[in-house]
């Protein structure tokens, strides 16, 4: 359980800033630091988390010209997808009953970690002709 709690916030913060290599390094460093601090009976699970973090690649979706790119995405369970709005108009990411971003102004981001397999259709609640799908395997 601790393993999931540790990993998730790190990735989330990472997504909110940017997915640059430097941030990634920092996030991993932070995770390792936590690992050291909290090392105890949960040790084995924490180890697993680090392996998983390295294995599942996080993915970006860009919003340009009122379009999600890529609009169709297939990812592995555990992947964090980060959307970045590069338009001069705000957008949202809404998957009915699953997740809902705040309004993202220009350069705003939203990240969601997909922990369950399935097909997630989403759209922009302000411009509903903008639609996309994340398939989680």
């Amino acid at each position: 359980m601790i393993s999931a709690t540790l990993r998730s916030p790190g990735i989330r913060r990472l997504g909110i800033r940017s997915l640059g290599i430097r941030s990634l390094g920092l996030a991993i460093a932070a995770a390792m630091l936590l690992h050291v601090n909290f090392a105890s009976a949960e040790d084995a699970k924490v180890e697993n988390t680090n392996v998983e973090t390295a294995k599942v690649e996080d993915t970006k979706v860009m919003i340009d010209n009122f379009t999600f790119e890529p609009a169709q995405l297939t990812v592995k369970v555990g992947t964090t997808v980060t959307w970045t709005n590069r338009d001069d108009i705000p957008h949202t990411i809404v998957s009915a009953g699953k997740f809902r971003s705040k309004t993202m102004d220009t350069d705003g981001t939203f990240s969601f970690t997909f922990t369950t397999a399935g097909e997630y259709k989403y759209f922009c609640s302000l411009h509903p002709h903008m639609t996309g799908t994340v398939k989680v395997e």
Partner: protein
């Protein structure tokens, strides 16, 4: 200035709809008069505005996007102020003003406050309907706190002025994935009921943010269930539909219904299909004010013509 007529592309050769679409794009505004369903341009805005208007006159402003500061217009509050100064300079005081939504860009309290500070300088009653940009605060309450008094549902209402029945509709909430603007069943039932018992000779004005007619579905410019609203006004002799959202003047006449969209006071958007997206259009600084503006609508009682004058901030 350029304007062109074209027929409904989806139904080439179909005369059923008797569609005549005119678009005033850049430059000076045009006075439109509608006789027998065919709009006719009477002249340039300056000479039109100089003529003494008879009957009731009201104004439409739209899409102020207060808070917008991107390259297409780094000072949307400033151009709103210019628009209000134009309004103040109109020689015959209009009866009131309608604002067809997107007062703010991000629904921030300060944006609403700044908009109110400027718009109130016109010293006119203002009847608002919300745009999607006015409903994006976390609790979705700032618009309703300010403009929702006496309205139903998400903010719809009607009122009478100068013998005309005005209906403000909300088509920016509960939008469905892949769809267009949305009125919803509750509002449509209310509208049907609201129009019941009105004499068919009463001129009706419907106003809402997103066009009630399908302008360009690829960009979401239309209202999913707008046709149902138009069904309820079918028997009325004179119906005018005023919208915003698309940041450019477009006009269409279909039978007894005149459709009109207003310019934004903040930034222009591209003509449908001429750009990769409907996003803000960056134009040369010198051209911006020719693409922003306000509209004056004049009802002449006991007379057919209806005149809509679109005035850019700078001709």
């Amino acid at each position: 200035m350029s304007h062109h007529d074209h027929h409904d592309d989806e139904n080439p050769g179909v005369s059923r709809r008797r569609v005549l679409e005119c678009m005033t794009w850049a430059g000076t505004g045009v006075l439109w008069t509608v006789t027998g369903g065919v709009p006719r341009s009477l002249g340039l805005v300056d000479s039109a505005a100089a003529a003494e208007p008879a009957g009731m006159t009201f104004l439409q402003i739209s899409d102020s996007h207060v808070g917008f500061d991107k390259p297409a217009n780094p000072n949307a509050l400033g151009t709103l102020e210019e628009a209000i100064n134009k309004v103040k300079a109109i020689p015959t005081k209009p009866s009131f003003m309608i604002h067809t939504g997107d007062i703010t860009h991000l629904s921030k309290a300060a944006e609403f406050d700044n908009a109110e500070r400027i718009i109130s300088q016109a010293k006119l009653d203002v009847h608002y309907v919300p745009g999607e940009h006015d409903f994006i605060d976390e609790e979705v309450k700032l618009y309703k706190e300010r403009y929702g008094k006496g309205t139903k549902g998400a903010g719809w209402y009607s009122f009478d002025a100068g013998g005309v029945h005005f209906v403000g509709l909300v088509n920016v909430v509960d939008l469905k994935a892949g769809g267009l603007g949305n009125l919803g069943n509750e509002q449509l039932e209310w509208l049907e009921d609201d129009l019941k018992g009105k004499s068919k000779s009463t001129p009706v004005v419907l106003f809402a943010h997103i066009p009630l007619w399908t302008v360009y579905p690829q960009w979401g410019w239309g209202t999913e269930d707008g046709a149902r609203a138009l069904e309820y006004v079918k028997g009325f002799g004179s119906v005018t539909v005023l919208n915003g959202h698309i940041h450019q003047v477009m006009q269409k006449v279909e039978g007894n219904v005149t459709f009109h969209t207003a310019r934004s006071t903040a930034f222009p958007q591209p003509v449908p299909g001429t750009a990769p997206s409907p996003g803000p259009m960056k134009v040369e600084d010198a051209k911006l004010r020719g693409l922003l503006g306000v509209a004056t609508i004049n009802f002449k009682q006991n007379n057919q013509p209806l005149a809509i004058i679109d005035t850019p901030l700078q001709g």
